[in-house]
């Protein structure tokens, strides 16, 4: 069978168009730049004597217009590839791009539905709805949701398994056909094979699941830790603040990479350091929830007792299941005390270590942000009103201050997921990641870089994927910040 071309039959028609769009864009940009240097300004609105408005267009306006339509044309061509890929059944006619677009059909459908619904009801959706007023925020949200849906539908999107090896396909170029395809097997490696003969496209797709499984959850935990410590530090101040701030600064002064090497190396894992860390760090979410509900329903003891006990039992069970693993004989005795029967789930050792180190690195920064916001907000009148009403300090912190700090915290949450993704990639890049054959992006880049100058195709897709996800999160954060400032 012939190897696939990048653009298939569509390319003959769409490629020149895309090139033309690109050329027009570059020409428009250059013209705009030169004219701005030469002192020509864009046209301005003029109020005529008869109270009508008119705009006199200058060459700069035309250059800008050309750039705008070039971008539009480019986007249309991309949509053409996606639609073409979905409509033309075989990748032989639609090429590699079309083939990938066709595999991603469930993602496109989900994205279209999500955007259609959100834009229709955007006025009823609060801050989330306002996101759809900002183009930057929408692009960011689109990128992030693209990867989330890809992760969710990974099983339908991927063409092969993440660790299926076909040894003849080692380092094969994108679009190579399988040597002897079985029935029902996808006949091509869309983005080529890596150095062991695994499908790069499928590994990238499954990698999105690996990354999105850890990053948001780790960030959430880091936020719980940071909030639980930052609220009292900022609110009470004094010696408590000094001590916690000093510890946070200690962790912050540690170069991240050294900390990772110290936490993740096998000898230190064997000594149980990450387990002790998890023992400490994972208690904070539990504490947070208990205090949260306790302070809210303190005045209604029956309700309080029910809610707090439910949280304690469920959270406690999850906490003990999380930190203990009776089946692992290498762990210190402390982590094997909890009976196997009540141990709901075991996290594979490496995953727990990676998770703990990422939470550990992130929480001091969150702590500093929360502390700063609390220092600012605690001088407000509504806090004083709460104090006069006789509310407890934790009620004020969790139900008066925290909700009012949500804006910056949500923005930082988005940014921090991106940062966590980068950290996870760094871990994978140094081979400290979840497991050697895990398809997560950092590990894949690490594997691909050895033969980078000869076979660039295994390392490039995960690198671009990671970049687009982080870019999406950053743009989303930027859009959210802009929209929340408008209030």
């Amino acid at each position: 069978m012939e190897p696939l071309t990048w653009s298939g039959d569509l390319g003959a028609f769409l490629n020149p168009l895309m090139l033309a769009a690109l050329a027009v864009f570059v020409a428009g940009f250059a013209a705009n730049f030169l004219m701005t240097l030469a002192g020509i300004r864009a046209g301005e609105m003029v109020v005529n004597p008869d109270h009508t408005l008119s705009v006199r267009r200058t060459p700069v306006d035309y250059a800008l217009m050309a750039m705008k339509y070039a971008v539009l044309l480019f986007v249309l061509c991309c949509v053409g590839y996606i639609l073409g890929g979905a409509l033309l059944a075989s990748p032989e006619t639609s090429g590699i791009l079309g083939g990938m677009a066709a595999r991603l059909t469930p993602v496109w459908i989900a994205l279209v539905i999500l955007f259609a619904l959100s834009i229709t009801f955007k006025r009823k959706l609060g801050l989330y709805g306002k996101l759809f007023d900002s183009p930057i925020g929408m692009i960011g949200f689109g990128l992030v949701m693209f990867w989330i849906f890809t992760a969710l539908f990974a099983g339908m999107v991927a063409t092969h398994g993440p660790i299926d090896v076909i040894s003849q396909m080692r380092n094969e170029l994108p679009g190579s056909p399988l040597p002897s395809p079985e029935d029902g097997q996808y006949t091509w490696y869309l983005l080529g094979g890596d150095n062991l003969g695994r499908d790069v496209f499928s590994r990238m797709v499954y990698g999105s699941f690996e990354v999105l499984k850890i990053a948001p959850l780790a960030t959430l935990f880091a936020f719980m830790v940071g909030i639980t410590l930052g609220l009292p530090a900022g609110y009470y101040g004094g010696r408590l603040d000094t001590v916690i701030t000093f510890i946070a600064n200690l962790v912050l002064a540690f170069p991240v990479i050294l900390l990772f090497y110290l936490l993740v190396t096998p000898e230190i894992v064997a000594a149980g350091v990450p387990n002790y860390l998890s023992l400490v760090l994972f208690i904070f979410p539990l504490l947070f929830l208990v205090v949260l509900f306790n302070s809210r329903y303190r005045t209604q003891p029956p309700v309080r007792n029910v809610i707090v006990s439910v949280v304690l039992v469920a959270g406690g069970l999850a906490y003990l299941s999380l930190i203990s693993d009776a089946s692992d004989p290498d762990l210190p005795i402390l982590f094997r005390l909890w009976p196997e029967a009540l141990d709901l789930f075991d996290i594979p050792g490496n995953l727990l270590i990676v998770f703990v180190s990422v939470v550990f690195v992130n929480s001091p920064t969150v702590f500093r942000i929360v502390r700063g916001i609390v220092l600012d907000i605690k001088t407000r009148d509504y806090v004083a009103a709460g104090q006069t009403r006789g509310e407890g300090p934790w009620y004020i912190m969790l139900w008066e201050i925290l909700p009012n700090a949500r804006g910056p915290l949500i923005v930082d949450f988005c940014l921090r997921i991106g940062y966590t993704t980068i950290l996870l990639g760094t871990l994978g890049f140094f081979g400290l990641g979840v497991s050697p054959e895990s398809p997560d992006w950092g590990s894949t880049i690490n594997e691909g870089r050895r033969l980078l100058t000869i076979y660039p195709h295994p390392a490039l897709p995960p690198a671009l994927a990671l970049m687009s996800l982080v870019l999406g999160l950053n743009l989303l954060a930027d859009g959210l910040r802009e929209e929340s400032l408008k209030d």
């Binding site: 000594a271 890049f429 140094f430 100058t453 660039p456």
Partner: protein
């Protein structure tokens, strides 16, 4: 002012003490020592032999005392070999007697110990490596800081303008591209003989070699740096840090541009160029100074990644080697340097901020 600096230095010393102890503790955990014993002695030692090896080589005893020895405030260990009566000790050169050797030998005496893997004094190894990294950092900063400031000032001088939007998006893009991604993209695009620009350029006869740039900085260590072998590592480091500094500069510049005195200057009819260059710029650059200083610790991670990716045997590369080879003394020295860099830059940024900003200096 003197009191402020003194207090900062005090806190810094305490932080350094805590951090070095944490590193010491983590690198001297029993499994680490066991592995060290097995690599130094032989791989099939029994547990009892391991224990005796650890004790013989001065790794036994309470952790806090050994930390003191390493720091140089507790006398180094001394042991007489029961078989041949030879003295062994932390401060002893081979063949020295206890009377000739100094009593203390640790960090405070400038003795960083001995690297078990490279078979050399740690101080010798670290010195050369730091110099290599220094060159890399210098060029990275020389590229990163001016371009970041330029981008930030251009974006921030007219908030919300088209230039602001495009430059800000550029800055966001650069913060979203970690070193291991941009490095890979740069190598594929500019330094691969089979992909990217190099084959096209070489076919056209525009470049002499097979690639536009070299994808490895190994030759930069021996033959000296040049445009060909050093551009990609420098660009890779500079790109990730640039976006962040640019965004901070933009925010600071935008804030200054809304200040009262700028409006006054405008109403007086000062030209926009003069407002930006003479009135706004100096005030807008106070905040980025702090950010630039605080970038050092971030760059450390970047340096480790870039040196690994481009095979440049500097400090970051040494750190990775020391950590993966369980070279305890070398790793400790590396972390000292890292912690020192972080703390000193924090101190400089604090003090510099006070000096630069008269409002804080007076109060």
């Amino acid at each position: 002012m003197a009191f402020f600096i003194l207090r900062r230095v005090g806190v810094m010393a305490l932080t350094a003490l805590c951090l070095t102890f944490v590193v010491f503790f983590l690198t001297n955990l029993y499994p680490n020592l066991e592995k060290l014993a097995k690599t130094q002695g032989n791989a099939r030692m029994t547990d009892a032999e391991v224990a005796s090896w650890i004790d013989r080589n001065g790794y036994g005893g309470p952790m806090i005392l050994r930390y003191g020895e390493w720091l140089g405030v507790v006398p180094g260990w001394l042991r007489e070999d029961p078989v041949n009566g030879e003295w062994r000790g932390r401060c002893l050169e081979r063949g020295q007697t206890p009377e000739e050797a100094p009593r203390y030998c640790g960090l405070l005496q400038g003795d960083l110990g001995f690297s078990t893997v490279s078979d050399d004094e740690v101080a010798n190894i670290i010195g050369g490596r730091l110099q290599l990294t220094g060159i890399l950092m210098f060029w990275a900063f020389a590229v990163m800081v001016p371009s970041a400031l330029l981008v930030g000032v251009l974006a921030g001088m007219k908030e919300g303008s088209r230039m602001d939007r495009s430059l800000s998006t550029l800055a966001i893009g650069s913060t979203a591209t970690p070193e291991y991604v941009s490095g890979v993209i740069f190598i594929v695009l500019l330094a691969s003989s089979t992909a990217g620009l190099s084959p096209i350029l070489s076919e056209l006869g525009w470049i002499d070699g097979r690639t536009l740039f070299l994808g490895s900085a190994r030759s930069a260590m021996e033959d000296g740096i040049n445009f060909w072998n050093f551009t990609l590592p420098v660009m890779t480091i500079a790109l990730y840090g640039m976006g962040y500094i640019a965004r901070m500069t933009r925010a600071s510049m935008a804030e200054v541009m809304t200040a009262q005195y700028i409006r006054t200057a405008r109403l007086k009819g000062v030209s926009f160029r003069n407002i930006v260059l003479k009135h706004a710029l100096r005030n807008a650059l106070i905040a980025p100074f702090t950010v630039i200083m605080l970038q050092f610790p971030w760059l450390l991670t970047g340096v480790v990644i870039v040196e690994t990716l481009f095979n440049y045997n500097g400090f970051g590369w040494t750190l990775v080697q020391a950590a993966s080879n369980n070279d305890i003394e070398l790793l400790l020295a590396c972390s000292i340097v890292a912690v020192f860099v972080v703390l000193v830059t924090q101190l400089i940024s604090d003090i510099g901020y006070v000096f630069l900003n008269p409002r804080i200096r007076i109060s």
